[in-house]
């Protein structure tokens, strides 16, 4: 009775907010779709998704060639896998160390530090990773008789891994820290060592959150732009050799849209096509994660 309509209005307002947020998602899809369709009117979907050569170019005959996105996706995949190959074990280990081994005082210092590091603009990492880390790895490579070119996927991946690391470990640490203390007691009370407790009880128990952390980091790595803009080249090589230069989807988007091309030209439209595929990709990853977590929850309450 009392101010019933205030309650109603508030509820409606909150509802509209939620709907608004969803509209953004729809907005992204719709806005990308329009341009994507125009793109696919000129380049066939099949050529785009499965073509092996990325060198967008219009032949004098008017034919559009070189719109095969496979090298971009393999490049993204390669750099991201290298990054995750670093961030996943290191991030988990750091999280485990901070959450389970480190003294509380140490944890109190490092946790906020990690969070701060996780928030540092990737531009910063990109810029200095290239001017400091790349030469470092290069000389390291030289001493090992490996030619590490500075735009190799390996270095871009390493840098991205280092960038992701604080984010990943912060998320993982949260996941571990949230676990009830009783689990640790249960295991330790059976005579398990700390590492056994961690490996056999805590990590499995935190599995859904860890997966979520992993996928969030993964999406961040896939969507990362500035590091690759600065570190990796733009060479769309179809290769899985981490010592070669590759490029990623996001970089190409930036590059196509800030380049000197005529605007409604196929090359610039390709950026929207790439963006759309990227969106679908991350969406798919997240649905996968959600499904995995739900499944795990259903089995293990």
């Amino acid at each position: 009775m009392r101010s019933l309509w205030v309650e109603r209005c508030a509820k409606v307002f909150f509802f509209l907010c939620a709907v608004g947020t969803v509209l953004i998602s729809i907005g992204i899809v719709v806005s990308l779709l329009g341009e994507t369709f125009r793109f696919f009117a000129r380049v066939s979907v099949f050529d785009f998704l499965f073509g092996l050569t990325w060198a967008p170019h219009t032949l004098p005959s008017g034919e559009e060639v070189g719109f095969g996105a496979i090298p971009l996706f393999t490049g993204t995949l390669l750099i991201t896998s290298i990054a995750m190959a670093i961030a996943l074990p290191c991030g988990t280990l750091i999280a485990v160390y901070l959450s389970e081994y480190a003294r509380p005082s140490l944890r109190q210092v490092f946790k906020p530090l990690l969070e701060t590091l996780a928030g540092i603009p990737t531009l910063v990492y990109g810029f200095f990773a290239i001017t400091t880390l790349a030469p470092f790895f290069q000389s390291l490579g030289d001493t090992l008789y490996i030619t590490l070119s500075s735009e190799s996927a390996l270095i871009a991946g390493l840098v991205m891994g280092i960038m992701i690391l604080p984010y990943m470990s912060s998320l993982c640490e949260d996941a571990l820290h949230r676990l009830p203390h009783s689990l640790r007691e249960g295991s330790v009370g059976l005579g398990a060592t700390a590492s056994e407790t961690i490996l056999r009880v805590l990590l499995p128990a935190a599995f859904p959150s860890l997966i979520a952390a992993f996928l969030l980091s993964l999406s961040r790595a896939i969507g990362e732009t500035m590091i690759v803009v600065m570190a990796a080249g733009l060479a769309a090589n179809l290769t899985f050799n981490p010592l070669e230069a590759v490029t990623t989807v996001t970089v190409q988007i930036v590059n196509l849209l800030t380049g000197d091309q005529e605007f409604d030209n196929t090359k610039t439209l390709a950026a929207f096509g790439l963006g759309f595929v990227l969106f679908i990709l991350t969406f798919f990853l997240n649905i996968l994660a959600l499904y995995g977590i739900k499944r795990h929850r259903r089995i293990y309450g």
């Binding site: 070189g66 735009e151 490029t247 005529e262 030209n265």
Partner: protein, 294 residues
Amino acid sequence: RLAGSSAIFPFAARVAEYFHYKTQEPTPLIEGLGTGAGIKLFCEGTRELDGVMASRPFTETERKKCEQQNIDFQEFKIGQDGLVLIEKKGSQFFPIRIEDLRSAIAEKVFVKGQCLKNPYMIWSQIQPSFPVLPLRILGPAPASGTYDVLLEKIKGPCDSLLRHDGIYIEAPANENLIIQKVLTAPHTIGIITFSFYEQNKNRIRALSVNGVLPFLKTIQDGHYPLSRPLYIYIKLNDLSDHLNRLLYMREFTSNDAIGKSGYLTEKGLIPLPQSEQRNIQKDLAQLFKTGGSS
């Protein structure tokens, strides 16, 4: 307010500042969006763009679009930009020819009457006199205007793109990084614009192309083969209300700026030959008259 090519961006910005200090007008806004995006905005007509910086002339469709929107514009060729092949100072110097460059970076090359996939991996395979070093060239990426210029310049019997097998590395649109990489990885050739070369002359060295080294003079008179023109397009609609556009261009084309020792020349812009420069100044004067009267 100008938008467009990031190659002209630093020059336009520098002129904008001088313009501000000399006339006490507000500093024009210069946006480095890339030529394409700039022209798109310019021709959409709804924006407040007064001009566009372009590292290539307008295409037909772009002109048409502008006409549809009733946008008149005047082209000013304000100078040239040279592409310089650089290497780390102290590496082995070798004079290169356009054909060699083509053999090094084209995707398909003409060997024995056939267009083949580029087989060259080592410099000495191209020319026996070249060093026995692996080919590794950093240069512009496909979406940039420089890429098209490069493609145009090395055009041979085979209609081909630049190779993408890891030998030609499409570098990010940040030439400082190309220089960095050339410095840290010896035996790498970088392709950068003249202004960056000028700023880093003490660390890097240019290769001669067809026997010509890139100097202001050689590029200006067309002896150096790798160069491209730079343009500014100025909107002519309602010129009487926007005389600033012309004033700005006057500053841009003044001797102070692109004269022999003008401040843009020091920054690495290759000025036009004297005669052409005078022509432009004349055009501008003409516009002042008509713009003021109409």
